[in-house]
Assembly symmetry: C2
Homo-oligomer: 341 residues x 2
Amino acid sequence: MSRSKAAVLVAGSWGTALSGVLADNGLEVMLWTRREEHARQINRERASKGIRLTPGVTATSSLEEALSGASCVLLVPPSDAMRELASRIRPYLSRQALLIHATKGFEASTFKRMSTVLAEELPEFDPDRIVVLSGPSHAEEVALRCPTTVVVASRRLEAAEAAQDVLINSYFRVYTNPDITGVEISGALKNIIALGAGLSDGLKFGDNARAALITRGLAEISRLGTAMGANPLTFAGLAGVGDLVVTCTSRHSRNWRAGSLLAQGLPRDEVLKEIGMVVEGIRTTQAAYALAGIHGVEMPIANELHRVLFEGKAPKAAVEDLMGRGRTREIEEAARFGGTC
Amino acid sequence: MSRSKAAVLVAGSWGTALSGVLADNGLEVMLWTRREEHARQINRERASKGIRLTPGVTATSSLEEALSGASCVLLVPPSDAMRELASRIRPYLSRQALLIHATKGFEASTFKRMSTVLAEELPEFDPDRIVVLSGPSHAEEVALRCPTTVVVASRRLEAAEAAQDVLINSYFRVYTNPDITGVEISGALKNIIALGAGLSDGLKFGDNARAALITRGLAEISRLGTAMGANPLTFAGLAGVGDLVVTCTSRHSRNWRAGSLLAQGLPRDEVLKEIGMVVEGIRTTQAAYALAGIHGVEMPIANELHRVLFEGKAPKAAVEDLMGRGRTREIEEAARFGGTC
């Protein structure tokens, strides 16, 4: 009996780490990258973006080769590349395949969630078979087989359970959650709070201030998410609190790093150059700023970050303004948290 | 006009830091400590437990001197000393005073909350004037005037607002919350999760594992708290998520340190000797283990810690058993989170 085959697109650090999980679980994995030279380099060096390739993983720049016969297709492009990638895989994607994406962000121009973009670009594909993977999961640690716990969500439980079956193993624990909307929204919005935490840490405001920012950040993410149709409980789970904590408190996070560079006075474009990778939190700040207006939701942290990133406000003044809001009752703020609670 | 007077008991690091907040706000502050020699030393060195005394703060070992004419009395003893301290202040405490406590833990022998202990030992005092102060607030950072956000809770809003008025300033932000039960429970129980996080970090399990532990820890704290009459929203706020994050992720926490020493194979009593201070999380693990049984609530993290601390289980096996629980649906776990959500 031949082994099941999976395709992972693209070969960034998260994609490469996830290809290792699938290979550890006995699948034959094709890891796709755009440029042929890059695919050759990955196969030669047996590594991509600092993550070592697991035996059973082969890089390719051919979409046809990657997708042909793949029963599981895992998409992890930057959010602004999802639509184009989806349209390119359309001719090769089997309708029987399981489609999982692990991209955290909204489409910049439309503020749409990634599963919406996929459904639009893949009209022949059953949208109930689209699964999102999220949760506290630094690629570097997954590649080292550190114990990691994630969540998979889909509109239909069977699809989430199929993703759970293909991904779960001794170091990679997978929970299912039916709230695809909430999981995608919290995965995108947490990057804003990570930027804010980096800003606060860069200003040496301390652990107390950062914890307050995370708490109030969780509240505003939940407010917007609930207004957009998410289940408030999702924000208390792995894709919410869990991912927020790991992104805001650990040295691996590039959104956190971007915030700490902003705090040092580096302008936005210099920060992007310095990090040399996509900083989803910067785009997501724009999206959240717009979505908060559309849905009539208060998002003080996203607003202040918008002022820093796009209106030239000094980071220190922004964080001080956030801390300095008047006498407030927590329960009133909290009551807006869940809406239905 | 003479200045208002506050008394702070006892002169540990958190009491000393809070005496500085009150002094910064213009109050005359008496900082009480049990031994006369210690009081003299504090006044001579203008510091206690590594925290510098703020001008306007005077140490004393006389309860009468500390409490006489004090309109605000702030209690911060270790949890097992609260009952005795309350009975000792009874003769001197004005019925018009505002009584705030900032102790995180249950009474070891009865599993009672601190405000219950206070109400029992101070029968002439209106229990609606008892306030609890909690939230993400390392003493060392408050002493350095780092921006800090806390919550004050009381059965009657007026008392919480009075505490807010006396404590709030530019670096110390104070929110009110009517859920004294939830604020006290989350303050006590978070120390268990901090122990667990220290254990996981001590085993080098990584940021992903720690974030998962914090998330699932929050869920089990909330389950027990809700069963004990707390408002589930409190656990999403500063006393819940906020304090959990700061205690589990920063180098100041002695509960975290205790966990990381346990992970290195040090037995419980050696850990206590090494830290040389009260480790509330160890006592609270016993309390939570018992309370979970009484209220019929599942608390896997508290249970595993109980096995490590009191039944000789190896830390690595405990954390692996926590990670290795079977295929689970997050929403079912989450649904048990709030109960009413």
